[in-house]
């Protein structure tokens, strides 16, 4: 028996159900764009996106394609290429529920699940309109005497468990260990997800655990339910340590996506490739 399950991108897509809570990596941690294209082709509906902590073209494309009913994020943006127009328009037209958050809260909610505790405390945030609109967050008087400030209110954030998390990485070893390098937020996302699938540029015939230093760069196979090879699978996004973003393509997208029609034409071409 192999020590991991090698599957296809389509088989990963089959694991995503309408309405599920899908983990979305930031643009610096391996965006699974090939998977995203297949997901849009499938016509998935009512996805709830949990972004750690933001999304760029991946989230905007899913929203523009009508796949998303809800999104929790600290930002949705095309970065230097401006606003994520499909996202902004969906909010302005009131057809998308946005759970506005802030980066450390998105990390902490997953860390709560990582530790199987019902909540995590967080400093800051109190007094912001983010906090005022989050009915799933609560504020309690600090029960810990040793904290120093009198009558300090403490914000508690609920543990969030993802249904499924998919990301793209440079490689796995022959045992299914995934090289993530410094992108340790990918480990947090994996720990907090019921199912985890990874697309990789290649599978290498090595054992990353044979060496303490290469072991340190891995997400262990035990968290991964299946691996698919997807050459250039983050395109047009960057894959840290492997290739840079295709800025021309993202710019083209950002221009096309300014209107619904432009977006539809862009996507038609993209999905037919």
């Amino acid at each position: 028996m192999n020590s991991f399950d090698k599957i296809s991108v389509k088989e990963i897509v089959d694991e995503v159900s309408d309405g599920c809570l899908l983990g979305i990596p930031a643009d610096y941690s391996g965006v699974p764009m090939q998977f995203t294209k297949e997901l849009i082709k499938k016509g998935i509906k009512n996805l709830r996106l949990y972004c750690l902590p933001l999304t760029t073209i991946q989230g905007d494309m899913l929203i523009g394609s009508g796949c998303v009913s809800e999104i929790e994020a600290a930002a949705v943006t095309l970065g230097e290429f401006g606003l994520a127009s499909r996202f902004s328009e969906a909010i302005e037209q009131n057809i998308l529920l946005m759970k506005d958050s802030t980066c450390p809260a998105l990390h902490a909610q997953l860390q709560a699940t990582e530790k199987s505790v019902p909540f995590m405390p967080l400093r800051g945030v109190i007094g912001s309109d983010i906090q005022k609109h989050r009915k799933d967050w609560c504020i309690i008087p600090n029960p810990m005497n040793s904290s120093g400030i009198k009558d300090e209110p403490i914000l508690l954030l609920p543990a969030v468990q993802l249904d499924i998390f998919v990301f793209h990485a440079a490689c796995s070893d022959r045992n299914g260990n995934i090289q993530i390098g410094r992108r340790r937020e990918l480990a947090t996302l994996a720990h907090a997800s019921k199912k985890v699938f990874v697309t990789v540029e290649k599978i290498i015939d090595e054992d990353f655990f044979e060496n303490e230093l290469s072991a340190a760069t891995c997400l262990p196979a035990l968290y991964v339910d299946g691996i698919a090879v997807a050459k250039n699978g983050a395109w047009p996004c960057a894959l840290p340590g492997a290739y840079k973003a295709d800025n021309n393509e993202i710019k083209n997208y950002s221009i096309a996506a300014k209107t619904k029609d432009g977006f539809n034409q862009y996507m038609k071409l993209l999905l037919s490739k």
Partner: protein, 246 residues
Amino acid sequence: MELNIKREELLISQLADLLVNDKHVAVGAASPIPGAAALLAKEEAKIKNKRLRVTILHSNKYNNFTDGARELFDCAAQGRIDTFFLGGVQIDGQANINLVGIGKYPKLNKRFPGSFGSALMYFVVPQIILFREEHSPRTLVNRVDFISAPGVSEDNIYRPGGPKYLLTNRALFKFNKNDKKFLLSRLNHNETIETITNLTEFNFDVDKNISEMIDPDNERIHILRKYIAPMVSEFYPEFAKRIWDV
């Protein structure tokens, strides 16, 4: 010899002056002017045999972190970041910042990306410098439509950090925490208290010692153009090309 100093260079120089006592400056996404200022301050510190660390997110080379995306926030919460920069679609007179949108939330007329990490960073980094190039009544408002992070907090809130300065392309304000009010302290060339008042929706005080922004001296300009420009071009290539043609 008179140097022809660019507007961006003047702003970089203003920011660099605010970093001289720091040990660790962090710079967030899409911030070429703060990024250049931090690297300039680092280079000048080196000349004085002082150590300034600079963390520029979205850069691999100037990113000191190895614990994933949460480390910036943990590191800041630990008090290990002295200065951080924040912006805003709107900034109001109490230093509240809005990164979310225009209109009555959640039914916004115009949606912007979102609050990023501001709602924590604003509380825990001792010196937050607000930086927004556009100085107009639509950016510097009386009251923000949405508070991504509040400028001030009650006494029972843990808040070692907060706003210290607001720099625009026209002026530098200090923030007075006790009065919860900005104090106009430096004017860009060709600006007056009157032009600033007309272009600012919120009320502010005026520093008794108000002065013009001081142009960077020849040595600083030399360092900026010779050493900092090529560094900046690594992670903000378009900016570096536009300003310094590198």
